[in-house]
Symmetry: C2
């Protein structure tokens, strides 16, 4: 059993192309004994965003704080505290902060994937 507060875990800036002001914490990640999936905590600064991309695995996302949007190949979808999202494998997506506060969300992925690790 592992129990911690999210801010006991190291926050790392994601330094990749098409990423701005985006930080990750691997709350339950490859270094844990989790059998099937990983829990990551994201913070995106005002004006920041993750890359507009797709991959062959899903995201399950729950918004903790702030005001953002999910950019897609269709219309952008607003996200706020207590929104959740399922992004299916192959669907293009980008998380963008469109507010004045830090946009915070959880994003779960299958264990075999190490997106941003």
């Amino acid at each position: 059993m592992i129990v911690k507060k999210y801010d006991e875990v190291k926050k790392e800036e994601i330094k990749k192309e098409d990423v701005k002001g985006t930080f990750i914490r691997w709350l339950i990640g490859p270094d844990s004994p989790a059998p099937h999936f990983h829990m990551r905590h994201f913070e995106i600064e005002p004006g920041g965003h993750s890359p507009f991309h797709s991959h062959d695995f899903e995201h399950e996302v729950y918004v903790l704080d702030g005001k953002g949007r999910l950019n897609t190949e269709g219309d952008p979808i607003p996200l706020e505290k207590d929104s959740f999202a399922l992004v299916m494998p192959g669907e293009k997506h980008q998380f963008e902060n469109i507010g004045n506060q830090t946009f915070k969300f959880l994003c779960f992925i299958p264990k075999e994937e190490q997106c941003y690790k």
Copy 2:
């Protein structure tokens, strides 16, 4: 892609032995196309608790609000907003509200499991 607010999903009381004042929303559940794992939203009323039990799959939990504790075979572990927990397969556990507000948390399980469904 599915995007909703958590309260757009039906809240169901869990009516089982050794469960008190506990409600579930299957945000991403068996009715969704999620490939690997399910997202459930729990609310436990003051004085309420989930059962003290174990099973052969894991829980990944993130606390959204309120004050609770994770009862184990050892000492109970306090839980509050922004705590997270990994309960491994086979570990006995119970979530209990020890505060005056609703205790809210997310709990993720593998897709093949339908605990409380």
